[in-house]
Symmetry: C2
Protein backbone atom coordinates (compact mmCIF):
# COMPACT_ATOMS: atom_id res chain seq x y z
CA UNK A 1 0.00 0.00 0.00
CA UNK A 2 1.34 3.40 -0.92
CA UNK A 3 1.50 6.11 1.68
CA UNK A 4 -1.89 7.75 2.07
CA UNK A 5 -0.23 11.12 2.49
CA UNK A 6 0.65 12.52 -0.93
CA UNK A 7 3.25 15.20 -0.26
CA UNK A 8 2.99 16.61 -3.79
CA UNK A 9 -0.36 18.27 -2.98
CA UNK A 10 -0.59 21.53 -1.07
CA UNK A 11 -2.26 19.83 1.87
CA UNK A 12 0.28 17.02 1.81
CA UNK A 13 3.06 19.57 2.08
CA UNK A 14 1.29 21.41 4.88
CA UNK A 15 0.71 18.19 6.82
CA UNK A 16 4.20 16.91 6.24
CA UNK A 17 5.48 19.99 8.10
CA UNK A 18 3.00 19.42 10.91
CA UNK A 19 3.80 15.72 11.08
CA UNK A 20 7.48 16.50 11.42
CA UNK A 21 6.70 18.51 14.53
CA UNK A 22 4.62 15.60 15.81
CA UNK A 23 7.53 13.21 15.23
CA UNK A 24 9.90 15.52 17.07
CA UNK A 25 7.45 15.77 19.95
CA UNK A 26 7.36 11.98 20.16
CA UNK A 27 11.14 11.67 20.15
CA UNK A 28 11.58 14.36 22.77
CA UNK A 29 8.97 12.83 25.01
CA UNK A 30 10.43 9.32 24.71
CA UNK A 31 13.95 10.50 25.49
CA UNK A 32 15.14 9.00 28.76
CA UNK A 33 18.05 9.29 31.19
CA UNK A 34 18.83 5.61 30.64
CA UNK A 35 20.82 5.22 27.44
CA UNK A 36 19.57 1.63 27.13
CA UNK A 37 16.01 2.94 26.85
CA UNK A 38 16.98 5.38 24.10
CA UNK A 39 18.83 2.63 22.27
CA UNK A 40 15.71 0.46 22.26
CA UNK A 41 13.51 3.39 21.20
CA UNK A 42 15.90 3.85 18.29
CA UNK A 43 14.61 0.55 16.94
CA UNK A 44 11.23 2.20 16.44
CA UNK A 45 12.46 3.82 13.24
CA UNK A 46 11.47 0.65 11.38
CA UNK A 47 7.90 1.07 12.59
CA UNK A 48 7.40 4.62 11.33
CA UNK A 49 4.64 4.65 8.79
CA UNK A 50 1.99 6.82 7.31
CA UNK A 51 1.03 8.54 10.56
CA UNK A 52 -2.60 8.14 9.57
CA UNK A 53 -3.94 8.80 13.06
CA UNK A 54 -2.06 12.07 13.67
CA UNK A 55 -3.05 13.16 10.13
CA UNK A 56 -6.72 12.54 10.83
CA UNK A 57 -6.48 14.38 14.14
CA UNK A 58 -4.76 17.39 12.56
CA UNK A 59 -7.13 17.48 9.58
CA UNK A 60 -10.25 17.18 11.73
CA UNK A 61 -8.98 19.91 14.03
CA UNK A 62 -8.29 22.16 11.05
CA UNK A 63 -11.59 21.25 9.37
CA UNK A 64 -13.50 22.64 12.33
CA UNK A 65 -11.54 25.84 12.40
CA UNK A 66 -9.36 24.76 15.28
CA UNK A 67 -6.31 26.41 13.78
CA UNK A 68 -8.01 29.77 14.34
CA UNK A 69 -8.72 29.38 18.05
CA UNK A 70 -6.79 26.75 20.03
CA UNK A 71 -3.20 26.57 21.26
CA UNK A 72 -1.48 24.32 18.71
CA UNK A 73 0.69 22.80 21.46
CA UNK A 74 -2.08 20.56 22.71
CA UNK A 75 -2.96 19.51 19.18
CA UNK A 76 0.58 18.44 18.39
CA UNK A 77 0.81 16.61 21.72
CA UNK A 78 -2.43 14.71 21.15
CA UNK A 79 -1.37 13.86 17.58
CA UNK A 80 1.81 12.38 19.09
CA UNK A 81 -0.25 10.55 21.72
CA UNK A 82 -2.44 8.66 19.21
CA UNK A 83 0.62 7.67 17.18
CA UNK A 84 2.40 6.42 20.33
CA UNK A 85 -0.59 4.24 21.20
CA UNK A 86 -0.60 2.90 17.63
CA UNK A 87 3.15 2.20 17.77
CA UNK A 88 2.70 0.36 21.07
CA UNK A 89 0.14 -1.97 19.47
CA UNK A 90 2.46 -2.59 16.50
CA UNK A 91 5.39 -3.45 18.75
CA UNK A 92 3.25 -5.76 20.88
CA UNK A 93 1.71 -7.38 17.81
CA UNK A 94 5.20 -8.60 17.00
CA UNK A 95 5.58 -10.54 20.21
CA UNK A 96 5.50 -14.18 19.29
CA UNK A 97 3.70 -16.92 21.08
CA UNK A 98 5.48 -20.15 21.82
CA UNK A 99 3.66 -21.96 19.04
CA UNK A 100 4.97 -19.47 16.49
CA UNK A 101 8.46 -19.82 17.80
CA UNK A 102 8.21 -23.55 17.60
CA UNK A 103 7.15 -23.15 13.99
CA UNK A 104 10.45 -21.38 13.48
CA UNK A 105 9.04 -17.97 12.70
CA UNK A 106 11.54 -16.02 14.66
CA UNK A 107 12.38 -13.88 11.65
CA UNK A 108 9.35 -11.60 12.10
CA UNK A 109 10.57 -8.27 13.55
CA UNK A 110 11.67 -9.38 16.98
CA UNK A 111 13.68 -6.34 17.94
CA UNK A 112 15.74 -7.97 20.67
CA UNK A 113 13.51 -10.74 21.85
CA UNK A 114 10.02 -10.83 23.25
CA UNK A 115 10.80 -9.30 26.61
CA UNK A 116 12.40 -6.19 25.13
CA UNK A 117 9.44 -5.78 22.77
CA UNK A 118 7.00 -6.07 25.67
CA UNK A 119 8.83 -3.47 27.74
CA UNK A 120 9.22 -1.11 24.80
CA UNK A 121 5.49 -1.34 24.02
CA UNK A 122 4.66 -0.69 27.67
CA UNK A 123 6.97 2.31 27.67
CA UNK A 124 5.21 3.69 24.57
CA UNK A 125 1.78 3.14 26.10
CA UNK A 126 2.74 4.75 29.40
CA UNK A 127 4.48 7.62 27.64
CA UNK A 128 1.35 8.24 25.59
CA UNK A 129 -0.75 8.52 28.75
CA UNK A 130 1.87 10.72 30.35
CA UNK A 131 2.00 13.06 27.36
CA UNK A 132 -1.81 13.22 27.23
CA UNK A 133 -1.90 14.10 30.93
CA UNK A 134 0.37 17.09 30.37
CA UNK A 135 -2.49 18.72 28.42
CA UNK A 136 -4.49 18.64 31.69
CA UNK A 137 -7.85 17.95 30.08
CA UNK A 138 -9.83 15.36 32.07
CA UNK A 139 -12.14 14.67 29.11
CA UNK A 140 -9.24 13.92 26.75
CA UNK A 141 -7.65 11.66 29.37
CA UNK A 142 -10.93 9.86 29.87
CA UNK A 143 -11.37 9.31 26.15
CA UNK A 144 -7.81 8.02 25.77
CA UNK A 145 -8.17 5.62 28.69
CA UNK A 146 -11.43 4.31 27.34
CA UNK A 147 -10.23 3.87 23.78
CA UNK A 148 -7.02 2.12 24.83
CA UNK A 149 -8.94 -0.42 26.88
CA UNK A 150 -11.22 -0.97 23.90
CA UNK A 151 -8.27 -1.54 21.57
CA UNK A 152 -6.83 -4.14 23.95
CA UNK A 153 -10.20 -5.87 24.37
CA UNK A 154 -10.48 -6.05 20.58
CA UNK A 155 -7.01 -7.59 20.31
CA UNK A 156 -7.90 -10.12 22.98
CA UNK A 157 -11.09 -11.05 21.14
CA UNK A 158 -9.13 -11.49 17.93
CA UNK A 159 -6.78 -13.86 19.74
CA UNK A 160 -9.74 -15.68 21.23
CA UNK A 161 -11.19 -16.30 17.76
CA UNK A 162 -7.91 -17.41 16.23
CA UNK A 163 -8.44 -20.30 13.82
CA UNK A 164 -12.19 -20.01 14.31
CA UNK A 165 -13.63 -20.51 10.81
CA UNK A 166 -17.09 -20.18 12.38
CA UNK A 167 -16.48 -16.53 13.32
CA UNK A 168 -19.63 -14.67 12.30
CA UNK A 169 -19.73 -11.31 10.61
CA UNK A 170 -21.10 -9.47 13.67
CA UNK A 171 -18.20 -10.63 15.82
CA UNK A 172 -15.73 -9.79 13.05
CA UNK A 173 -17.05 -6.23 12.86
CA UNK A 174 -16.99 -5.92 16.63
CA UNK A 175 -13.35 -7.01 16.69
CA UNK A 176 -12.17 -4.58 14.02
CA UNK A 177 -14.27 -1.77 15.44
CA UNK A 178 -12.58 -2.28 18.79
CA UNK A 179 -9.02 -3.07 17.75
CA UNK A 180 -8.72 -0.55 14.89
CA UNK A 181 -11.67 1.80 14.39
CA UNK A 182 -11.81 2.88 18.05
CA UNK A 183 -8.41 4.62 17.92
CA UNK A 184 -9.09 6.12 14.48
CA UNK A 185 -12.45 7.41 15.73
CA UNK A 186 -10.81 8.83 18.85
CA UNK A 187 -8.16 10.57 16.72
CA UNK A 188 -10.90 12.35 14.77
CA UNK A 189 -12.95 13.07 17.89
CA UNK A 190 -9.96 14.54 19.70
CA UNK A 191 -9.33 16.83 16.71
CA UNK A 192 -12.93 17.98 16.99
CA UNK A 193 -12.77 18.39 20.77
CA UNK A 194 -9.60 20.47 20.53
CA UNK A 195 -11.35 22.66 17.94
CA UNK A 196 -14.25 23.18 20.32
CA UNK A 197 -16.82 21.31 18.21
CA UNK A 198 -20.38 20.92 19.54
CA UNK A 199 -21.78 17.63 20.84
CA UNK A 200 -23.77 17.18 17.64
CA UNK A 201 -20.71 17.75 15.49
CA UNK A 202 -18.64 15.38 17.61
CA UNK A 203 -21.26 12.72 17.06
CA UNK A 204 -20.99 13.19 13.27
CA UNK A 205 -17.19 13.07 13.54
CA UNK A 206 -17.46 9.86 15.51
CA UNK A 207 -19.62 8.24 12.79
CA UNK A 208 -17.09 9.43 10.22
CA UNK A 209 -14.14 8.02 12.17
CA UNK A 210 -15.78 4.69 12.80
CA UNK A 211 -16.61 4.14 9.11
CA UNK A 212 -13.10 5.17 8.09
CA UNK A 213 -11.57 2.88 10.71
CA UNK A 214 -13.59 -0.16 9.68
CA UNK A 215 -12.90 0.47 5.97
CA UNK A 216 -9.21 0.88 6.77
CA UNK A 217 -9.02 -2.46 8.56
CA UNK A 218 -10.94 -4.34 5.84
CA UNK A 219 -8.48 -2.90 3.33
CA UNK A 220 -5.52 -3.83 5.53
CA UNK A 221 -6.84 -7.38 5.75
CA UNK A 222 -7.22 -7.47 1.94
CA UNK A 223 -3.63 -6.29 1.50
CA UNK A 224 -2.50 -9.25 3.58
CA UNK A 225 -4.26 -11.56 1.14
CA UNK A 226 -3.53 -9.77 -2.15
CA UNK A 227 -0.50 -7.60 -1.59
CA UNK A 228 2.91 -8.10 -3.11
CA UNK A 229 5.36 -7.65 -0.23
CA UNK A 230 7.76 -5.80 -2.58
CA UNK A 231 5.09 -3.16 -3.23
CA UNK A 232 3.21 -3.00 0.08
CA UNK A 233 6.30 -3.17 2.24
CA UNK A 234 4.50 -5.71 4.40
CA UNK A 235 4.58 -9.48 4.49
CA UNK A 236 1.56 -11.18 2.99
CA UNK A 237 -0.24 -14.19 4.40
CA UNK A 238 0.57 -13.16 7.98
CA UNK A 239 -3.12 -13.31 8.93
CA UNK A 240 -3.36 -16.80 7.47
CA UNK A 241 -0.34 -17.87 9.50
CA UNK A 242 -1.80 -16.36 12.65
CA UNK A 243 -5.21 -17.91 12.06
CA UNK A 244 -6.93 -14.54 11.61
CA UNK A 245 -10.24 -15.03 9.80
CA UNK A 246 -11.12 -11.84 7.88
CA UNK A 247 -14.06 -10.45 5.88
CA UNK A 248 -13.52 -12.14 2.47
CA UNK A 249 -13.26 -15.54 4.16
CA UNK A 250 -16.27 -14.92 6.40
CA UNK A 251 -18.48 -13.77 3.53
CA UNK A 252 -17.34 -16.70 1.37
CA UNK A 253 -18.12 -19.26 4.06
CA UNK A 254 -21.45 -17.60 4.77
CA UNK A 255 -22.50 -18.21 1.16
CA UNK A 256 -20.56 -21.48 0.70
CA UNK A 257 -20.42 -23.35 4.02
CA UNK A 258 -19.22 -26.42 2.10
CA UNK A 259 -15.84 -24.67 1.58
CA UNK A 260 -15.07 -24.73 5.30
CA UNK A 261 -12.74 -27.77 5.10
CA UNK A 262 -10.81 -26.10 2.22
CA UNK A 263 -10.31 -22.93 4.26
CA UNK A 264 -9.29 -24.89 7.29
CA UNK A 265 -6.78 -26.85 5.24
CA UNK A 266 -5.38 -23.65 3.66
CA UNK A 267 -4.92 -22.21 7.15
CA UNK A 268 -3.28 -25.35 8.46
CA UNK A 269 -0.83 -25.56 5.58
CA UNK A 270 -0.43 -21.79 5.02
CA UNK A 271 -1.54 -22.09 1.37
CA UNK A 272 -2.12 -18.39 0.57
CA UNK A 273 -2.27 -18.92 -3.19
CA UNK A 274 -4.98 -21.56 -2.92
CA UNK A 275 -7.00 -19.39 -0.53
CA UNK A 276 -6.68 -16.39 -2.83
CA UNK A 277 -8.03 -18.39 -5.77
CA UNK A 278 -11.00 -19.61 -3.74
CA UNK A 279 -11.78 -16.03 -2.64
CA UNK A 280 -11.45 -14.61 -6.16
CA UNK A 281 -13.60 -17.31 -7.76
CA UNK A 282 -16.42 -16.86 -5.23
CA UNK A 283 -16.47 -13.07 -5.59
CA UNK A 284 -15.44 -12.64 -1.97
CA UNK A 285 -12.63 -10.17 -2.71
CA UNK A 286 -15.10 -8.02 -4.63
CA UNK A 287 -17.53 -8.23 -1.71
CA UNK A 288 -14.89 -6.74 0.60
CA UNK A 289 -13.99 -4.03 -1.94
CA UNK A 290 -17.69 -3.08 -2.23
CA UNK A 291 -17.93 -2.91 1.53
CA UNK A 292 -14.97 -0.51 1.68
CA UNK A 293 -16.64 1.71 -0.92
CA UNK A 294 -19.91 1.69 1.01
CA UNK A 295 -18.14 2.63 4.24
CA UNK A 296 -16.09 5.43 2.68
CA UNK A 297 -19.25 6.93 1.13
CA UNK A 298 -20.98 6.65 4.48
CA UNK A 299 -18.05 8.42 6.14
CA UNK A 300 -18.03 11.28 3.66
CA UNK A 301 -21.82 11.64 3.86
CA UNK A 302 -21.76 11.77 7.63
CA UNK A 303 -19.55 14.88 7.51
CA UNK A 304 -21.45 16.48 4.63
CA UNK A 305 -24.18 18.03 6.70
CA UNK A 306 -21.83 19.41 9.29
CA UNK A 307 -19.24 21.53 7.54
CA UNK A 308 -17.67 22.35 4.21
CA UNK A 309 -14.27 24.00 4.56
CA UNK A 310 -11.24 23.44 2.37
CA UNK A 311 -9.58 21.28 5.00
CA UNK A 312 -12.70 19.16 5.24
CA UNK A 313 -12.59 18.55 1.49
CA UNK A 314 -8.99 17.41 1.90
CA UNK A 315 -10.00 15.16 4.75
CA UNK A 316 -12.60 13.53 2.50
CA UNK A 317 -10.05 13.26 -0.33
CA UNK A 318 -7.70 11.47 2.03
CA UNK A 319 -10.38 9.01 2.98
CA UNK A 320 -11.45 8.43 -0.63
CA UNK A 321 -7.99 6.95 -1.22
CA UNK A 322 -9.09 3.91 0.78
CA UNK A 323 -11.10 2.96 -2.32
CA UNK A 324 -7.90 2.59 -4.37
CA UNK A 325 -7.08 -0.95 -5.34
CA UNK A 326 -5.08 -2.55 -2.49
CA UNK B 1 7.30 -14.50 52.31
CA UNK B 2 4.19 -14.31 54.43
CA UNK B 3 1.51 -11.82 53.65
CA UNK B 4 2.44 -8.42 55.05
CA UNK B 5 -1.18 -7.79 56.01
CA UNK B 6 -1.92 -9.51 59.32
CA UNK B 7 -5.70 -9.74 59.50
CA UNK B 8 -5.67 -10.63 63.19
CA UNK B 9 -4.82 -7.05 64.19
CA UNK B 10 -7.41 -4.29 64.36
CA UNK B 11 -5.83 -2.45 61.44
CA UNK B 12 -5.50 -5.65 59.42
CA UNK B 13 -9.21 -6.27 59.84
CA UNK B 14 -10.04 -2.70 58.87
CA UNK B 15 -7.84 -2.80 55.81
CA UNK B 16 -9.06 -6.22 54.76
CA UNK B 17 -12.56 -4.72 54.46
CA UNK B 18 -11.21 -1.77 52.50
CA UNK B 19 -9.13 -4.02 50.28
CA UNK B 20 -12.17 -6.12 49.47
CA UNK B 21 -13.87 -2.99 48.12
CA UNK B 22 -10.72 -2.24 46.10
CA UNK B 23 -10.77 -5.77 44.65
CA UNK B 24 -14.43 -5.43 43.72
CA UNK B 25 -13.72 -2.08 42.07
CA UNK B 26 -10.99 -3.72 40.01
CA UNK B 27 -13.24 -6.60 38.92
CA UNK B 28 -16.10 -4.29 38.00
CA UNK B 29 -13.84 -2.01 36.03
CA UNK B 30 -12.21 -4.89 34.14
CA UNK B 31 -15.55 -6.46 33.24
CA UNK B 32 -16.05 -6.37 29.47
CA UNK B 33 -18.76 -7.09 26.92
CA UNK B 34 -16.50 -9.69 25.30
CA UNK B 35 -16.72 -12.94 27.27
CA UNK B 36 -13.26 -13.90 26.01
CA UNK B 37 -11.80 -10.87 27.79
CA UNK B 38 -13.51 -11.79 31.05
CA UNK B 39 -12.29 -15.36 30.72
CA UNK B 40 -8.70 -14.16 30.39
CA UNK B 41 -9.11 -11.72 33.27
CA UNK B 42 -10.28 -14.69 35.34
CA UNK B 43 -6.73 -16.03 35.10
CA UNK B 44 -5.58 -13.07 37.17
CA UNK B 45 -6.77 -14.81 40.34
CA UNK B 46 -3.40 -16.55 40.50
CA UNK B 47 -1.67 -13.17 40.62
CA UNK B 48 -3.56 -11.78 43.58
CA UNK B 49 -1.18 -11.08 46.36
CA UNK B 50 -0.62 -8.88 49.33
CA UNK B 51 -2.04 -5.73 47.74
CA UNK B 52 0.87 -3.82 49.26
CA UNK B 53 0.41 -0.77 47.04
CA UNK B 54 -3.31 -0.23 47.75
CA UNK B 55 -2.58 -0.82 51.45
CA UNK B 56 0.09 1.86 51.47
CA UNK B 57 -2.20 4.27 49.61
CA UNK B 58 -5.09 3.66 52.02
CA UNK B 59 -2.88 3.89 55.11
CA UNK B 60 -1.16 7.08 53.96
CA UNK B 61 -4.51 8.64 53.13
CA UNK B 62 -5.83 7.70 56.56
CA UNK B 63 -2.64 8.77 58.30
CA UNK B 64 -3.11 12.30 57.04
CA UNK B 65 -6.70 12.47 58.13
CA UNK B 66 -8.04 11.86 54.65
CA UNK B 67 -10.86 9.69 55.98
CA UNK B 68 -12.29 12.78 57.66
CA UNK B 69 -12.46 15.00 54.59
CA UNK B 70 -12.29 13.41 51.15
CA UNK B 71 -14.82 11.37 49.13
CA UNK B 72 -13.71 7.78 49.66
CA UNK B 73 -14.72 6.87 46.09
CA UNK B 74 -11.61 8.44 44.58
CA UNK B 75 -9.40 6.77 47.18
CA UNK B 76 -10.77 3.32 46.42
CA UNK B 77 -10.41 3.96 42.68
CA UNK B 78 -6.79 5.09 43.00
CA UNK B 79 -6.00 2.12 45.25
CA UNK B 80 -7.38 -0.10 42.46
CA UNK B 81 -5.36 1.84 39.87
CA UNK B 82 -1.98 1.23 41.54
CA UNK B 83 -2.76 -2.48 41.95
CA UNK B 84 -3.80 -2.74 38.28
CA UNK B 85 -0.50 -1.21 37.19
CA UNK B 86 1.34 -3.64 39.45
CA UNK B 87 -0.63 -6.60 38.07
CA UNK B 88 0.16 -5.48 34.51
CA UNK B 89 3.89 -5.57 35.28
CA UNK B 90 3.55 -9.04 36.85
CA UNK B 91 1.69 -10.41 33.83
CA UNK B 92 4.22 -8.91 31.43
CA UNK B 93 7.15 -10.13 33.54
CA UNK B 94 5.95 -13.62 32.72
CA UNK B 95 6.32 -13.21 28.99
CA UNK B 96 9.22 -15.35 27.97
CA UNK B 97 11.94 -14.53 25.54
CA UNK B 98 12.91 -17.09 22.96
CA UNK B 99 16.06 -18.00 24.85
CA UNK B 100 14.05 -18.93 27.92
CA UNK B 101 11.72 -21.04 25.87
CA UNK B 102 14.64 -22.76 24.28
CA UNK B 103 15.93 -23.55 27.74
CA UNK B 104 12.64 -25.35 28.26
CA UNK B 105 11.22 -22.97 30.84
CA UNK B 106 7.70 -22.92 29.52
CA UNK B 107 6.36 -23.96 32.92
CA UNK B 108 6.60 -20.42 34.33
CA UNK B 109 3.09 -18.94 34.49
CA UNK B 110 2.33 -18.58 30.80
CA UNK B 111 -1.42 -18.12 31.02
CA UNK B 112 -2.29 -18.99 27.44
CA UNK B 113 0.86 -18.15 25.60
CA UNK B 114 2.87 -14.98 25.25
CA UNK B 115 0.43 -13.10 23.06
CA UNK B 116 -2.48 -13.51 25.45
CA UNK B 117 -0.26 -12.39 28.34
CA UNK B 118 0.83 -9.31 26.40
CA UNK B 119 -2.75 -8.32 25.56
CA UNK B 120 -3.95 -8.97 29.09
CA UNK B 121 -1.17 -6.80 30.53
CA UNK B 122 -1.99 -4.03 28.05
CA UNK B 123 -5.64 -4.25 29.00
CA UNK B 124 -4.72 -3.91 32.68
CA UNK B 125 -2.45 -0.94 31.99
CA UNK B 126 -5.06 0.83 29.84
CA UNK B 127 -7.82 0.06 32.33
CA UNK B 128 -5.71 1.55 35.10
CA UNK B 129 -5.32 4.80 33.16
CA UNK B 130 -9.01 4.79 32.31
CA UNK B 131 -10.02 4.30 35.94
CA UNK B 132 -7.62 7.04 37.06
CA UNK B 133 -9.12 9.39 34.48
CA UNK B 134 -12.61 8.92 35.92
CA UNK B 135 -11.41 10.76 39.05
CA UNK B 136 -10.86 13.80 36.80
CA UNK B 137 -7.78 15.06 38.60
CA UNK B 138 -5.11 16.26 36.14
CA UNK B 139 -2.38 16.07 38.81
CA UNK B 140 -3.16 12.43 39.65
CA UNK B 141 -3.23 11.54 35.94
CA UNK B 142 0.08 13.28 35.43
CA UNK B 143 1.69 11.45 38.34
CA UNK B 144 0.36 8.10 37.11
CA UNK B 145 1.62 8.67 33.56
CA UNK B 146 5.02 9.71 34.84
CA UNK B 147 5.44 6.83 37.24
CA UNK B 148 4.32 4.22 34.70
CA UNK B 149 6.90 5.42 32.19
CA UNK B 150 9.51 5.30 34.93
CA UNK B 151 8.56 1.72 35.84
CA UNK B 152 8.90 0.65 32.19
CA UNK B 153 12.23 2.43 31.81
CA UNK B 154 13.47 0.62 34.92
CA UNK B 155 12.38 -2.74 33.50
CA UNK B 156 14.12 -1.95 30.23
CA UNK B 157 17.32 -1.04 32.08
CA UNK B 158 17.13 -4.29 34.01
CA UNK B 159 16.86 -6.19 30.75
CA UNK B 160 19.74 -4.18 29.33
CA UNK B 161 21.98 -5.21 32.23
CA UNK B 162 21.00 -8.87 32.12
CA UNK B 163 24.00 -11.10 32.80
CA UNK B 164 26.13 -8.02 33.46
CA UNK B 165 28.29 -9.01 36.44
CA UNK B 166 29.92 -5.58 36.17
CA UNK B 167 26.68 -3.79 37.09
CA UNK B 168 27.66 -1.16 39.65
CA UNK B 169 25.73 -0.32 42.78
CA UNK B 170 24.55 3.10 41.52
CA UNK B 171 22.96 1.54 38.43
CA UNK B 172 21.42 -1.22 40.54
CA UNK B 173 19.80 1.33 42.83
CA UNK B 174 18.59 3.35 39.85
CA UNK B 175 16.98 0.25 38.35
CA UNK B 176 15.13 -0.79 41.51
CA UNK B 177 14.14 2.79 42.27
CA UNK B 178 12.59 3.04 38.83
CA UNK B 179 11.07 -0.41 38.40
CA UNK B 180 9.79 -0.88 41.98
CA UNK B 181 10.15 2.09 44.31
CA UNK B 182 8.56 4.58 41.87
CA UNK B 183 5.13 2.93 42.02
CA UNK B 184 5.34 2.36 45.78
CA UNK B 185 6.31 6.02 46.23
CA UNK B 186 3.44 7.11 43.98
CA UNK B 187 1.00 4.96 45.97
CA UNK B 188 1.99 6.77 49.15
CA UNK B 189 2.06 10.18 47.45
CA UNK B 190 -1.41 9.66 45.96
CA UNK B 191 -2.73 8.79 49.43
CA UNK B 192 -1.27 12.05 50.68
CA UNK B 193 -2.59 14.05 47.73
CA UNK B 194 -6.09 12.65 48.20
CA UNK B 195 -5.90 13.63 51.88
CA UNK B 196 -4.95 17.17 50.88
CA UNK B 197 -1.42 17.05 52.32
CA UNK B 198 0.86 20.08 51.91
CA UNK B 199 3.81 20.16 49.50
CA UNK B 200 6.21 19.76 52.43
CA UNK B 201 4.34 16.75 53.73
CA UNK B 202 4.16 15.21 50.27
CA UNK B 203 7.91 15.55 50.02
CA UNK B 204 8.33 13.65 53.32
CA UNK B 205 5.86 11.00 52.10
CA UNK B 206 7.86 10.65 48.91
CA UNK B 207 11.10 10.05 50.87
CA UNK B 208 9.24 7.50 52.97
CA UNK B 209 7.84 5.70 49.91
CA UNK B 210 11.16 5.61 48.12
CA UNK B 211 12.99 4.07 51.09
CA UNK B 212 10.20 1.53 51.58
CA UNK B 213 10.21 0.66 47.87
CA UNK B 214 13.95 0.14 47.68
CA UNK B 215 13.96 -1.94 50.89
CA UNK B 216 11.07 -3.98 49.53
CA UNK B 217 12.91 -4.81 46.32
CA UNK B 218 16.16 -5.71 48.08
CA UNK B 219 14.14 -8.06 50.30
CA UNK B 220 12.34 -9.52 47.27
CA UNK B 221 15.70 -10.15 45.62
CA UNK B 222 16.93 -11.84 48.81
CA UNK B 223 13.85 -14.08 48.88
CA UNK B 224 14.72 -15.26 45.40
CA UNK B 225 18.13 -16.34 46.69
CA UNK B 226 17.18 -17.68 50.12
CA UNK B 227 13.49 -18.53 50.01
CA UNK B 228 12.00 -21.97 50.18
CA UNK B 229 9.37 -22.06 47.42
CA UNK B 230 7.04 -24.08 49.69
CA UNK B 231 7.06 -21.24 52.23
CA UNK B 232 7.35 -18.15 50.05
CA UNK B 233 4.90 -19.32 47.41
CA UNK B 234 7.40 -18.17 44.78
CA UNK B 235 10.02 -19.98 42.79
CA UNK B 236 13.60 -19.39 43.91
CA UNK B 237 16.58 -18.83 41.66
CA UNK B 238 14.45 -17.08 39.03
CA UNK B 239 16.73 -14.03 39.08
CA UNK B 240 19.73 -16.28 38.58
CA UNK B 241 18.04 -17.93 35.60
CA UNK B 242 17.14 -14.57 34.15
CA UNK B 243 20.62 -13.15 34.66
CA UNK B 244 19.45 -10.53 37.17
CA UNK B 245 22.38 -9.32 39.23
CA UNK B 246 21.17 -8.14 42.66
CA UNK B 247 22.57 -6.39 45.73
CA UNK B 248 24.26 -9.30 47.56
CA UNK B 249 26.12 -10.26 44.39
CA UNK B 250 27.10 -6.68 43.58
CA UNK B 251 28.42 -5.99 47.09
CA UNK B 252 30.30 -9.31 47.12
CA UNK B 253 31.98 -8.61 43.80
CA UNK B 254 32.81 -5.08 44.89
CA UNK B 255 34.80 -6.47 47.81
CA UNK B 256 35.98 -9.64 46.05
CA UNK B 257 36.42 -8.96 42.33
CA UNK B 258 38.29 -12.26 42.05
CA UNK B 259 34.97 -14.10 42.54
CA UNK B 260 33.58 -12.81 39.24
CA UNK B 261 34.31 -16.03 37.30
CA UNK B 262 32.55 -18.07 40.03
CA UNK B 263 29.46 -15.87 39.84
CA UNK B 264 29.46 -16.01 36.09
CA UNK B 265 29.73 -19.79 36.17
CA UNK B 266 26.90 -20.06 38.75
CA UNK B 267 24.71 -17.93 36.47
CA UNK B 268 25.56 -19.96 33.43
CA UNK B 269 24.81 -23.28 35.09
CA UNK B 270 22.01 -22.04 37.36
CA UNK B 271 23.83 -23.21 40.51
CA UNK B 272 21.77 -21.43 43.17
CA UNK B 273 23.16 -23.48 46.05
CA UNK B 274 26.75 -22.66 45.14
CA UNK B 275 25.93 -18.98 44.78
CA UNK B 276 24.14 -18.94 48.12
CA UNK B 277 27.18 -20.42 49.87
CA UNK B 278 29.48 -17.83 48.30
CA UNK B 279 27.19 -15.01 49.40
CA UNK B 280 26.80 -16.36 52.94
CA UNK B 281 30.52 -16.91 53.43
CA UNK B 282 31.43 -13.40 52.28
CA UNK B 283 28.82 -11.74 54.50
CA UNK B 284 26.96 -10.43 51.48
CA UNK B 285 23.54 -11.63 52.61
CA UNK B 286 24.08 -9.80 55.90
CA UNK B 287 25.10 -6.69 53.99
CA UNK B 288 21.73 -6.69 52.18
CA UNK B 289 19.83 -7.33 55.43
CA UNK B 290 21.63 -4.39 57.07
CA UNK B 291 20.74 -2.22 54.10
CA UNK B 292 17.05 -3.11 54.46
CA UNK B 293 17.20 -2.19 58.15
CA UNK B 294 18.86 1.14 57.36
CA UNK B 295 16.24 1.96 54.72
CA UNK B 296 13.29 1.04 56.93
CA UNK B 297 14.65 3.22 59.75
CA UNK B 298 15.15 6.04 57.26
CA UNK B 299 11.57 5.63 56.06
CA UNK B 300 10.12 5.71 59.56
CA UNK B 301 12.29 8.69 60.53
CA UNK B 302 11.23 10.64 57.46
CA UNK B 303 7.60 10.50 58.59
CA UNK B 304 8.39 11.11 62.26
CA UNK B 305 8.54 14.85 62.04
CA UNK B 306 5.40 15.16 60.00
CA UNK B 307 2.63 13.42 61.88
CA UNK B 308 1.83 10.99 64.64
CA UNK B 309 -1.67 9.53 64.35
CA UNK B 310 -2.72 5.98 65.11
CA UNK B 311 -2.90 5.11 61.44
CA UNK B 312 0.60 6.46 60.95
CA UNK B 313 1.88 4.19 63.69
CA UNK B 314 0.25 1.26 61.90
CA UNK B 315 1.82 2.38 58.64
CA UNK B 316 5.24 2.31 60.32
CA UNK B 317 4.47 -1.09 61.87
CA UNK B 318 3.63 -2.44 58.45
CA UNK B 319 6.91 -1.19 57.07
CA UNK B 320 8.90 -2.55 60.03
CA UNK B 321 7.86 -6.03 58.89
CA UNK B 322 10.26 -5.68 55.98
CA UNK B 323 13.01 -6.27 58.57
CA UNK B 324 11.68 -9.78 59.26
CA UNK B 325 13.93 -12.56 58.07
CA UNK B 326 13.08 -13.29 54.42
Amino acid sequence: MNTMMDTTTELGRWLSGELEVVSKTMSLHLHNNHSGVNELCGELATYHGKMLRPSLLLLTWKSFGGDRCVQPDSVVKLAAVVELIHLATLVHDDVLDEASIRRGETTIHCLRGNEAAVMLGDYLLSSAFHLCSTVKSPSLNLLLGEVSSTVCAGEMMQLYHRNNVDLNIENYYQIIQDKTAALITASCTMGGMLAGASEQTLSAISTFGNSVGVAFQIRDDLIDILGEPSITGKGSGVDLEKGKVTLPIISMLHKNPNLKPDVYEAMRSGDLLGLRELLESTGSIQFALDEIERLVDLAVDSLGGVFSTGAAAELCNLVQQLKNSP
